[in-house]
Amino acid sequence: MKKIINDPSTVVEEALHGMEVAHADLIKVNYSPAYIVRADAPVKGKVALVSGGGSGHEPLHGGFVGMGMLDAAAPGAVFTSPTPDQVLDATKAVDGGAGVLHIVKNYTGDVLNFETAAELAQAEDIQVEAVVVDDDVAVKDSTWTAGRRGVGGTVLLEKIVGAAAQRGDDLAACKALAEKVNGQVRSMGLALTACTVPHAGEPSFTLGDDEMEMGVGIHGEPGRERVTLTSADEMVSTMLGSVVEDLPFSSGDSTLLFVNGMGGTPLIELYLAYNSCVKFLKEKGIGVTRSLVGNYITSLEMQGMSITLLRLDDDMTTLWDAPVHTAALRWGA
């Protein structure tokens, strides 16, 4: 295992220290329990957005805390959902009296721990609603699984709903918008190499030199099938093919295309893949009016990418364009 760390058991805490010092103007960090809040939290009268999940997906979620996006993030151990007290204390720290929306990626652990936190917060008279993001088309959504996973769509949802909260939408409106975004976004991932959880010390899985894991999850969970390495165009056609068919997206749609790196993929490959995506969508008559290309929801040092497509309407587009000022996404401010 080759990592820039001191000790597997202090990775998350040391990285939080680094974030805190590097972004002292934006965020404050609490360590016991661990959570990150906007430096100006609580913002009175504004609906607060709290997300969280295992660490190892940086910049998700801590990198999205700030004006126009999240109010707090609760980072668990690497690939391990946070505990209820992290989420509860974060919720209390950011509640500005207008209620709190929990943004939860659909994993058993995340859902259970956020549920417990929400119950405890409600017992303390904080209004809490939750949206569970499940945009990963690689997983069959059936009673035979824990349901679709929350992946790249989470980033877009946090930005768009964050902007709505910032402009003053109330809790019910924020929750409804979050559900709408979740209903219109689909994603799929792919791994070229595995990642190594610091504590485990060994890669989560092994891939042959000419193999890739199609449909991989962001915790290195093996995906839909292990297939032979193909060209970027073919990767994109499999991934976007599933994504487009699932919603389905149709000719004339206006979309936000998000090509995301898994942490170990260089930007040059992401732009190349983005180009393949645009070609693919053009043929189908699907328009790309907004874009995001980069490493935003990652799996440690995994090489690979995920592709997320969101069907936009005018309001979502306005909210996407609205100013945001966080460590990882910033514009108009």
Binding site: F79, T83, P84, T108, A146, G220
Partner: protein, 209 residues
Amino acid sequence: MACDAAGVAGGVRRVAGTVSEHKAELTNLDREIGDGDHGENLARGFGAVIGKLDAETPDSPGGVLKLVATTLISTVGGASGPLFGTAFLRAATSVGDAGELDGSAVAAALEAARDGVVARGKAEPGDKTMVDALTPAVDAAKAAAEGGGDAAAVLAAAAGAAEQGAADTEPMQAHKGRASYLGERSIGHVDPGARSTAYLLRALADAAG
């Protein structure tokens, strides 16, 4: 050893030792069909439990179980944190403020624990989760208690059945938790949570025996 507050605390300490001893194995099982953190998760949780117990041991079995529950909930995270936390919480409620537990109290506590896990996680037997270790353990515990077994005997019966239950998860296809994403590829691996459940019960049984 008597199944009083000190006895239960001793059992929990032994659990902590077992978890730490098998940490790598549990993590490896979780790497196969999950995300490679189960051993670490439990080690972190039971490590914190030991810290709490060192500071102050509650004066009833229920108190100890509740301390374990709240500590696991606030330190483990993941799926297993709330599930094991709920299990210990329900067990604590089940034993109430009894000063010492007999065989049937232990069996009842185990049943309450299992029911709590099922209520939270919605897994059924055969879904390839810790429920597949807990359910046979509860059945065996109840039988042993009905046969007049004491706490140690009931725990020993539960542990044996849980071990078998854990082994039986190997050919199953997972329908709950992270392993379910693998579909058929989850077949052929023992479920980490079922295995840790068996270790946990074995440690309690050994401490009691």
